[in-house]
Amino acid sequence: MEITDKKRILIVDDSFYMRTMLKNMLLDAGYDVVGEAPDGKTALQMAREKVPDLVTLDVILPDNTGLDVLKGIKQDNPDMKVVIVSAVGQEVIMTEAAEYGALHYIIKPFSEDKVLEALSNAFKEEE
């Protein structure tokens, strides 16, 4: 049942705990979480199948690195928004991520406000 035109989000994180927290925050904030991927392969597949409006992407993943997923997503769909979710200490990766088109970051541990701010900033671009 489609009631609203909620923004559709795909969560990519290898930690179930992180995914649960993030999912709850996003659902509470009125986003639609269309999928959760624990690794890069699933992430790319879900991004293709579900075509979310935005992907929250953890950069350290079990199979390939988050950056490969980022590249893959942008290759398939350059307009899909990607917000990098990463713990402190990975600033180097972020610079690299920016080169591939990820413009927004969430730093772990994240507060609800920060997450929502990053997402709404990402969506603001299109207006």
Partner: protein, 543 residues
């Protein structure tokens, strides 16, 4: 009550224990193959997650130890630190320490990391010199806690669904064995089957119990949602939530999620008035909405109560006529609850304008279909000027349902209790002929009475029953209720109340509207389950 914090905590611990097990495994692998970059990357990832999760939940010591270990492994990856015997010992100690900290989260005794170990870790990550002489011996202690497994497992709902289906099948066979043992009159067999009966019953409840979640897991999302809708509508809302700890099957909660959201949106955008309007009506400027849950035997009752402007019966009546559902005369005969039940008809919506968040073509009919699909029931009560209440009657569990068994001709039929209102024995003389139908006055309500025998044996468009057609002087009538409307069904014999497992009819006979499915009785007899919704819909439309 299990709140979200507790849920997070359980998830954190379970996942952290997994990480700890994996870390212990990988570091042993690494000792054998110190150059294995994949193993190194995996250890790094696990420590990284553990650190981030621990920080997020506020277990600072775990976060700190993980961080130190992560840094050390990062240096090993970058060849800034040698994987020497001394370093290996410190890293092993560090990972053991992590395990110790994780397993003791829920124990009353607080565990402090050994200061000697922390110092050792600092030494290997800070001093690039290879002076390992500074490393001090850390006392090692193994106990069962290091080897403990998580008390919590995750299970896919699909697996629980499968388990519940199997239990359903088992119950059918159990009932069969039970009745055979009665026929055979063998004491041993009777004892065994009585025992089997108890065990399967317990099994059924255990499986059902494993699928239960708190209504709160859905209700707790509403304060935020309500706030957002209220802001968009420029309204002030005070939300009360009651009964979060009532438990219900996870799939049922999933299915009604959208419905509840939709009703909430309706309540705020169409129900609650703007503050100035409320003040004029001598109401508090804040609109009040209550979301409540309560148990009633096998049913969970959810209520969404608002003190808004209520539904205007006259307006609904006008719409019923305008949309051609009934003639103006027929509308005037409707009882209040019947009038409101038209709100659930497809395409019936009272909203004159579509506000930002509600409406959009999805009406109450969709809500109703969702609730029908799980064998639930919805009703609406409203007083103009005082507010509206939606009540959802939901089964606690999907598979097993209470049903009333009856007999018509040689067949047994089951009617889900969810849809039965009462059972009456009525003298045939008290039935009245109105057109082709019979009606009766039962508890001062005029109710259409349908003879199931005639319904089964004549083409539905030619259905017509006179009092003379009925055989006996007294009629056994089951009053069923669907969508606030009542219908009396004449049966030959009332049998008993029983828990049944409803199976779907297989194709191609699954399309016959009057059946909701089929069930097997303990005797092995096939018993068709009547679809009260379909039967009621037909006769209401006809009247």
């Amino acid at each position: 009550m299990k709140g979200r914090e507790q849920e997070y905590r359980e998830i954190f611990i379970a996942e952290a224990l997994e990480y700890y097990d994996a870390l212990s495994r990988h570091i042993s692998d690494l000792e054998k193959a110190p150059q294995d970059e994949q193993v190194l990357a995996e250890i790094f990832r696990l420590l990284h997650n553990l650190k981030a999760n621990a920080k997020a939940i506020g277990f600072i010591t775990i976060a700190d130890v993980s961080h130190k270990l992560e840094t050390a492994f990062g240096m090993i990856r970058n060849k800034e630190l040698n994987f020497s015997d001394e370093v290996v010992t410190v890293l092993f100690d560090g990972i053991d320490m992590l395990g110790e900290l994780i397993t003791s989260i829920d124990s009353p005794k607080e565990v402090e990391p050994s200061p000697a170990l922390l110092r050792n870790l600092d030494i290997i990550i800070n001093s690039l010199s290879d002076n390992s002489a500074e490393l001090s011996k850390v006392q090692k202690y193994y106990n069962s806690k290091n080897l403990s497994l998580s008390d919590l497992i995750y299970i896919q709902i699909k697996k629980l669904d499968h388990l519940l289906n199997l239990v359903g099948e088992l119950i059918i066979d159990r009932d069969r064995i039970f009745s055979i043992s009665k026929e055979l009159d063998n004491d041993d067999l009777k004892n065994v089957s009585a025992h089997l009966y108890r065990i399967t019953e317990e099994l059924q409840y255990s499986v059902m119990d494993a699928r239960l979640v708190n209504v709160g897991s859905l209700f707790n999302k509403f304060p935020r949602i309500v706030r957002d809708i209220a802001v968009a509508e420029s309204k002030e809302i005070n939300l009360d939530i009651i009964g979060q700890d009532i438990q219900i099957d996870r799939n049922i909660l999933q299915i009604i999620t959208d419905s509840l959201l939709h009703l909430m949106r309706n309540a705020i955008s169409h129900g609650i008035e703007k503050a100035d309007v409320r003040k004029k009506a001598k109401k508090s400027p804040q609109g009040n909405i209550t979301l409540s849950a309560q148990n009633d035997r096998d049913t969970v009752i959810l209520r969404l109560i608002d003190d808004g402007k209520g539904i205007d019966q006259q307006e609904v009546k006008r719409a019923i006529v305008q949309r051609g559902f009934l003639s103006a005369d027929a509308v005037n005969d409707l009882r209040e609850t019947e009038v409101l039940s038209y709100l659930f008809e497809p395409g019936f919506s009272l909203a004159k304008e579509v506000t930002e968040v509600s409406g959009r073509g999805v009406g109450l009919d969709v809500v109703k279909n969702a609730i029908d699909s799980i064998g639930g029931r919805i009703r609406v009560d409203s007083k103009k000027g005082e507010g509206t209440t939606f009540t959802l009657f939901l089964p606690t569990s999907i598979a097993v349902k209470g049903a009333l068994l009856c007999q018509v001709e040689e067949n047994f039929y089951a009617i889900p209790l969810m849809h039965t209102d009462s059972v009456v024995a009525l003298p045939t003389a008290e039935l009245h002929e109105v057109g082709d139908l019979l009606v009766a006055d039962i508890n001062s309500e005029t109710i259409t009475i349908v003879s199931l025998k005639e319904l089964f044996n004549t083409d539905i468009s030619e259905y017509s029953v006179r009092k003379n057609d009925l055989e006996s002087d007294v009629q056994n009538i089951i009053i069923v209720t669907y969508n606030n409307r009542k219908l009396g069904l004449i049966v030959d014999k009332l049998l008993r109340q029983q828990d049944i497992v409803i199976k779907a009819l297989s194709r191609p006979v699954n399309t016959i509207e009057i059946y909701a499915g089929v069930t097997l009785l303990g005797s092995g007899k096939v018993c068709l389950v009547l679809d009260v919704a379909a039967i009621t819909r037909y006769f209401i439309a006809r009247r």
